[in-house]
């Protein structure tokens, strides 16, 4: 089913400026699992009547994995190209569902001439909630047990711990914390460009270790706010063959599906 998603180019052609640019990111654009998160978030934006646009084919990798892998050249090439495009559209505010893009756009683009107000989608949804533009009801999730995995690039990297939890609490669910949570949270294993390579030799996969943390809370749902964490924890759940009992879902997916969007 096709959904209507305006691009910045289309908006500009109509002489309109959106309230916010939705930065989809590579995972959100291409990864089959992450695309569902993207679509869920768009449905929430539409429900809240947010005027938004995407860059579409003009969007390119933020450069985060290149930078973390030490390829500063490639990172800055990507960043400057993206900044040129976004500055041409006079972008002021960006929202993204990927904490890696979020961190790079927010912290590393300003030094290269890209100054925007950048929000993670959980922060943005929280602000919509606070402004009364979005209502959240638990729907089919009421009473379920949800644990939230803090993405490193949202939590420790940018000290955002409460926005995702505030959203989850609104669903009238039982939010259970893992023994390692918030600033003590364990990485899923995908950051720092690990997503794109096999792990070094060790005695365990990091995503298995983190999935064990989540399983200890005996949850119905493991909530995440990052497409990479989502992939890793989904693999972890498959690894213990629990995919029929425990779902790994992005907060945007939970909210959209609670509302049967």
């Amino acid at each position: 089913m096709s959904i209507k998603v305006p691009t910045m180019a289309e908006m500009m052609a109509e002489g309109k400026t959106p309230e916010v640019l939705f930065w989809v990111g590579c995972a959100g654009s291409y990864d089959d699992r992450a695309k569902k998160i993207t679509r869920a978030f768009v449905k929430l934006l539409q429900k809240a009547d947010v005027s938004f646009a995407v860059l579409g084919t003009e969007e390119s990798c933020s450069g985060d994995p290149a930078k973390r892998a030490g390829n500063e050249f490639l990172f800055q090439m990507q960043a400057m190209t993206n900044i040129e495009i976004m500055n041409a559209y006079e972008v002021k505010k960006i929202v993204t569902a990927c904490p890696h893009c979020f961190n790079t756009l927010k912290n590393e683009y300003p030094g290269l001439g890209g100054n925007y107000q950048v929000m993670h989608h959980t922060e943005f949804l929280k602000s919509l909630l606070d402004e009364g533009r979005l209502t959240i009801e638990g729907g089919k999730f009421v009473g379920t047990k949800i644990t939230f995995h803090d993405p490193c690039y949202l939590g420790r990297a940018n000290n955002i711990y409460e926005a995702p939890r505030d959203l989850i609490k609104k669903l009238e669910v039982e939010l259970v914390e893992m023994k390692r949570c918030k600033s003590n949270a364990l990485c899923c294993g995908a950051g720092g460009a690990q997503m794109f390579k096999d792990a070094e030799k060790g005695d365990k996969e990091i995503f298995v270790e983190r999935t064990d943390d989540a399983l200890e809370t005996n949850p119905d749902i493991i909530a995440t706010g990052c497409p990479f964490c989502n992939t890793m924890l989904t693999d972890g759940i498959k690894n213990v063959e629990k995919e029929s009992e425990i779902k790994v879902l992005d907060i945007a997916e939970i909210l959209a599906s609670a509302d049967e969007l």
Binding site: C26, E59, S60, A66, F73, M80, R156, Q194, F196, K201
Partner: protein
């Protein structure tokens, strides 16, 4: 003859403090081998960090048991040093308990010192038990053998001996005061050592030997400890303060943008730049700037100070996801190897007057396997009780491997190629970026 001990003491003081100052100068010189970085902004936020984290030990209590014991030892260490001031004056001028004119206040102070010394002794014994009997894993990692292991134990033994000497000295003094011997005027209160006193001989001569012996050993011990610092992981008692003051105030996720790269990328993207222009002649014999770090001189002075500040507690390594899952990487080992290399470069300079190429670098001890195992999750940075940043060194080493050596793991090279060609780390066509809306 009468002044012999005063002269001896003055000599000891001069040598002890002089050697310490010499080493501090060397320490500062070595730290300044690092590249310049400006951290003079936001002084109020920096003072606040220093007061909270170094003085207030706020990050130590993330682990309550070790944190509280550490605060006791630390408070004891600082407060008991008021007593050292008295010892120095007594030693120089041949007085005895020169501050005792303060009467009730003096009694209170000596009493407090005793209680603190006792608590320090107990805490240090518990530290030893945690290390040697309970064998907490972070004290037994592979980098904690030989010198690092002995260094940690030496410090504990030192503290035990110093605190015991202090209490024995007071116990002997207490007995002498009771006996009304010579200049042992009644001064101070002895809530702990009065219980040691009955175990000592009651003969005035022997007691004076014990009292003087403990006094001398105590102060000699303090001077040795002071000069041990430079060679030890224990430098953190001094460097924790500048280290927290100058620590990064930006969000932890932010990695610096290399200006040298920015200059080149801007030139490449500038439509007005002449593609055939020769690169500007380097001025003088200036070397083109290296991308990333292969040696300590490529790191910033903050990173070098970090290495000297590290007390090898291993909290970073114990929370590192790579280390916990059996990978080679240990953030603590990165800091220790960095410090070892600074010391090596420092000794090279001491010997040759200036640094003489030794064909070594950080890569002599830090392996690529360690560097590539990092997930950049910032757990180590978050955990460090004195705000050391091992991740920044790992990133600078990666930059060198990628931009100077082109030696990234093959899969990462493929990821780079994909980003260059398709604008995504995977092999998808950029024109398909919006396909998700129709699926």
């Amino acid at each position: 003859m009468h002044f012999l001990s005063n002269i001896l003491f003055a000599l000891l003081l001069i040598v002890g403090v002089g050697y310490f100052i010499m080493n501090v100068k060397k320490l500062i010189r070595n730290i300044k081998l690092g590249r310049d970085i400006d951290r003079s902004d936001q002084p109020s936020a920096r003072w606040k960090n220093m007061v909270n984290i170094a003085l207030g030990q706020s990050k130590m209590v993330r682990r309550p048991v070790a944190g509280i014991l550490h605060i006791i030892v630390y408070a004891g260490f600082i407060i008991i040093n008021i007593e050292v001031l008295e010892i120095i004056i007594d030693g120089l001028f041949g007085t005895h308990r020169v501050f005792s004119f303060a009467g009730g206040l003096y009694d209170f102070l000596i009493g407090s010192f005793e209680i603190l010394a006792f608590l320090v002794l107990i805490s240090v014994i518990i530290f030893w038990i945690r290390r040697m009997i309970i064998r907490i894993p972070r004290f037994w990692s592979k980098e904690m053998t030989s010198w690092p292991k002995n260094d940690a134990l030496n410090i504990l033994y030192f503290e035990m001996v110093l605190m015991s000497l202090f209490l024995i000295m007071n116990a002997a003094d207490y007995n002498l005061q009771q006996l009304g011997v010579g200049h042992y005027i009644k001064a101070g209160s002895f809530p702990i050592s009065q219980y040691i006193a009955p175990w000592l001989p009651q003969n005035a001569d022997t007691l004076m030997w014990i009292e003087r012996g403990a006094w001398w050993l105590h102060i000699i011990g303090i001077f040795i400890f002071l000069n041990y610092l430079y060679y030890s992981k224990h430098l953190h008692i001094l460097l924790a303060f500048p280290n927290t003051y100058y620590a990064n105030l930006e969000p932890k996720g932010k990695i610096n943008n290399l200006q040298s790269v920015t200059d080149e990328v801007q030139l490449m993207l500038d439509p007005n730049a002449d593609p055939y222009a020769a690169p500007p002649e380097p001025e003088g014999d200036e070397m083109p700037e290296k991308f990333g770090a292969s040696d300590v001189t490529d790191l910033t002075w903050i990173q070098l100070m970090n290495a000297y500040t590290c007390t090898e507690c291993g909290r970073c390594t114990s929370v590192c996801p790579a280390n916990q899952t059996g990978k080679l990487l240990s953030p603590r080992a990165i800091m220790m190897k960095t410090r070892d290399r600074i010391e090596e470069v420092g000794r090279n300079i001491d010997k040759n007057g200036e640094f003489k190429e030794d064909d070594k670098s950080l890569f002599a001890t830090i392996t690529n396997e360690e560097i590539w195992a990092c997930t950049s999750c910032n757990a180590c940075v978050e955990e460090c009780p004195v705000n050391i940043d091992p991740l920044s060194i790992i990133v600078d080493l990666r930059r060198y491997l990628v931009m100077e050596q082109s030696s990234a793991p093959q899969e990462l090279n493929m990821m780079f190629t994909n980003i260059e060609n398709n604008g995504a780390p995977w092999q998808y066509n950029q024109l398909d970026r919006l396909n998700w809306k129709d699926e």
